[in-house]
């Protein structure tokens, strides 16, 4: 079920030092032949993933210019958008924040920035075993009592 988000921004951004990772050219994580878990995925998928990692670890930092506004928001699925919006709604415990979604996206960029740094070190640590490690971690999160 899709709806208009009149106040959402056109793009979300990352910093220049993450450009190489976000690129789908050879050497980037998204390239279809890359060994990475993100092979064949899109920038928006990596962005949402990194943002979720950042939020889960409660780490965020403002983006230093020059920003690379390459993540197309209209390409995100409704589920991805609501995962992103839920960060601010849960933090403010109110729906009023939806009046200006662009502010929520700015915060999401900050979480995604730190999340990607965490991701880089985790992928470096686990290498090809990262998907397995991720799977275990996700199962542990689900097993936690909320």
């Amino acid at each position: 079920m899709a709806t208009n988000h009149p106040t959402e921004p056109r793009d979300a951004a990352y910093t220049k030092d993450h450009l190489e990772i976000y690129t789908d050219k050879k050497g980037g994580w998204l390239h279809k032949e890359a060994k990475s878990i993100f092979a064949g995925k899109f920038q928006k998928d990596l962005f949402i993933f990194a943002m979720a990692v950042g939020k889960h670890r409660d780490k965020k930092s403002p983006l230093k210019p020059p920003k690379q506004g390459n993540v197309r928001v209209d390409a995100m699925t409704e589920k991805q958008k609501w995962a992103l919006l839920s960060i601010e709604i849960s933090e403010t415990k109110n729906l009023l924040c939806l009046k200006d979604e662009s502010l929520i996206y700015t915060k999401a960029e900050e979480y995604a920035h730190e999340g990607l740094n965490i991701l880089i070190s985790r992928i470096e640590k686990y290498g090809n075993n990262y998907p397995k490690e991720l799977e275990v971690e996700l199962k542990e999160i689900l097993a936690e009592k909320t």
Partner: protein, 663 residues
């Protein structure tokens, strides 16, 4: 320029003593010429005579073979008859009919008997070309003459027009992606791009050397650039060597496999056949494992954010529910829908809307004044419910995917184990030659794997050098900017470097475009020439030049084709290359139908001349190939003046060629 061969004259060349003349009538519809000859009678040497005359190279002899002695080009009987201090010349003359008039190409090689009675041969042959220029015949000799012939058809392309039937059948059987890539590279005619890149690299080095106001920092940066550039050149040359070796090993391993598969011992041939089919299965399984792992990874990437944010998403949902409870967020029912129900006076369950029910609905319709915000939130609530069900199914779904992966891996392990057993059985077989072949196979596998690793390493080094060069060029630019006198030089360097980048991209674009054109044309040709038109869905050449023949059921059957199908695939590929090259030369095929089953022979001889309408087609065939059916099919395209037969003398050492009436 389009050309056809109107006549060939051969004198004292290989087994052809004296002068043999073959005249061909050129006809657009009856485009076929036939030369019939037993095995060893001199068919291949007729093809050799043509390529020797045009390029100084015999197509059937590799360069190594050429330089390692063997039979001389000059006819041996004629050589025997020579007296002391007498000389003799082997000569091939080809007359061509071209769009701009007749051409004559003559190549000669002189040899003789010295005063001491020893035979000698001139090291190089002499080439003469007579061609029309402004209505006059111009005679060309000397080094530049070869260029004229290369303008008609470049030497690199000759193998696509002057074809050895056996090599053509084997082309896709033994070809590696490197061979395919090379063949496509040849027709891409990128020499101009390569030459331009080479020239620009030299200009870049010279510009760097010409800097006048150098500082110690600038000098150090420029020295480093030069050092790395030299390393890149060396590394690229090493990579080429390793790739060549890998290619040679791959070709040898194919020959080893063929030897074992066709061995007289049924035990060995059965084991090898089983191993080859296991290898195909293993490739398929590896592909399946890769696909499943890709699917699992893709799923993990999609689901993980929702699980990481589960707490936040749950809280959001709770907030929304509270709003709904308080009536701040009405359920997602459109105002128009409620109005419609009231107008109809009937509920969706079929009951009439009267009394209390009608009153509740009327009150509710007043409440349904959806603000923009609540509209968004309602969608959000539904979306979050979808997220919850995705999270709920995660453990089961991920376990299911893992089980499938493990299942494939288990099958893979079993097949790999069976291959190991087969190898051990062959190694213990009581024929030394077989054991030797198996050991060699092992060794080749190890060498190929090692070279693949080495190549990976070298390519990663190249990548590192590229990054380093990029950094250094940036530093160089900054250093040059410090002195205004260097501005022009800096601009020139930037221009050269950008031009080099453009050339690299151009090369990539051209290669991709040509590959796709070849793929398209290959598919069209194959569909025309193949008998089983519905069995194959398509042929693909991927960006790694891996050729796949897709069976209608989805399997890649490149390793399971019959000899006839391989020939057709080869012909279709060569023909695609011919078309794309843009050159219009005769097509000459030596032994086109050997080892081909009757059905394919019938089909090829019906379709091929038709397929090449307008192109001169010359077939060199054995009497076995030229059976009754083939004769009947080819007769439709054959002018009787264009039918020749090679006859051997009693000792089978000399041959002559003469017109043949077919009886």
């Amino acid at each position: 320029m389009k050309y056809a061969i109107s006549s060939i004259s051969i004198t004292n060349y290989r087994q052809y003593s004296g002068t043999q003349v073959l005249d061909f009538k050129i006809d657009k519809t009856k485009n076929l010429s036939l030369i019939l000859g037993k095995n060893g009678a001199g068919k291949s040497n007729l093809l050799n005579a043509i390529t020797w005359c045009l390029y100084g190279i015999e197509i059937h002899k590799s360069k190594d073979n050429y330089n390692s002695g063997g039979m001389p080009i000059i006819n041996t009987s004629a050589l025997k008859k020579l007296k002391i201090n007498q000389s003799i010349t082997a000569e091939v003359i080809i007359h061509l009919k071209t769009d701009i008039g007749p051409w004559t190409i003559k190549r000669t090689l002189e040899g003789g008997k010295s005063g001491l009675g020893e035979l000698y041969f001139n090291e190089t042959s002499e080439l003469t070309v007579i061609h029309p220029v402004y209505g006059q015949d111009k005679i060309n000799t000397g080094e530049e003459t070869q260029i004229l012939i290369n303008n008609l058809l470049p030497e690199a392309l000759k193998n696509f027009f002057f074809i050895d039937g056996e090599q053509l059948r084997e082309f896709f059987k033994v070809s590696t992606p490197d061979n395919i890539s090379k063949a496509i590279d040849i027709v891409s005619q990128l020499e101009l791009v390569y030459k331009a890149a080479d020239h620009l690299s030299k200009v870049e080095t010279n510009l760097r050397k010409s800097v006048k106001n150098t500082t110690p920092q600038l000098k150090s940066v420029q020295d480093n650039i030069e050092k790395i550039q030299n390393k890149v050149v060396d590394l690229k040359s090493t990579i080429k060597q390793v790739e060549k070796q890998k290619e040679k090993d791959q070709e040898e391993i194919i020959r080893v496999k063929e030897f074992l598969k066709t061995h007289n011992s049924s035990v060995i041939s059965t084991l090898e056949s089983e191993r080859q089919s296991l290898e195909i299965d293993i490739n398929k399984l590896n592909d399946q494992v890769w696909r499943k792992e890709y699917q699992r990874n893709s799923y993990l990437v999609e689901i993980a954010p929702f699980i990481y944010l589960k707490k936040e998403i749950e809280q959001t949902y709770k907030i929304m529910e509270e709003k709904v409870e308080k009536g701040e967020l009405p359920p997602r029912i459109k105002e128009t829908f409620i109005k419609e129900l009231l107008e109809k006076g009937r509920c969706i369950c079929g009951n009439e809307l009267v009394g209390e029910a009608k009153k509740i609905l009327e009150d509710y319709s007043k409440k349904v004044i959806l603000s923009e915000l609540s509209e968004i939130s309602i969608v959000g609530k539904t979306t979050i419910e979808e997220i919850f069900s995705s999270i709920k199914e995660f453990p089961e779904k991920i376990d299911g995917l893992n089980e499938e992966i493990e299942e494939f891996k288990g099958q893979l392990e079993k097949k790999e184990l069976r291959i190991e057993h087969i190898s051990n059985e062959i190694k213990e077989y009581n024929v030394a030659e077989i054991r030797r072949y198996e050991e060699r196979r092992d060794e080749l596998n190890r060498l190929i794997a090692k070279n693949e690793q080495v190549l990976l390493l070298y390519k990663s080094d190249l990548n590192t050098y590229d990054i380093k060069l990029k950094e250094l060029r940036g530093e160089e630019e900054r250093e040059l900017s410090k002195d205004k006198k260097n501005n022009t030089l800096k601009e020139k360097l930037t221009l050269v470097q950008s031009s080099l980048k453009v050339l690299v991209n151009t090369e990539k674009i051209i290669k991709t475009k040509i590959r796709k054109q070849v793929e398209k044309s290959l598919n069209e040709n194959f569909k025309t020439l193949i008998r089983k038109k519905t069995a194959f869905s398509s042929i693909s050449i991927d960006d790694k030049y891996d050729v796949k023949v897709h069976h209608i059921d989805g399997y890649n059957v490149i390793n399971d084709l019959s000899a006839g199908e391989y020939l057709i695939l080869g012909l279709s590929f060569m023909s695609a290359l011919m078309t794309i090259s843009g050159f219009q030369a005769p097509v000459i095929i030596d032994t086109p139908l050997g080892k081909i089953d009757d059905e394919h022979r019938e089909y090829i001889t019906t379709e091929l001349p038709k397929f090449l309408t307008g192109t001169q087609l010359m077939l060199l065939v054995t009497p076995t190939e030229y059976d009754k059916n083939v004769k009947a099919n080819l007769d439709r395209y054959l002018l009787k003046e264009n039918f020749y037969r090679i006859t051997e003398n009693k000792d089978q050492t000399e041959s002559t060629v003469g017109r043949y009436d077919g009886n």
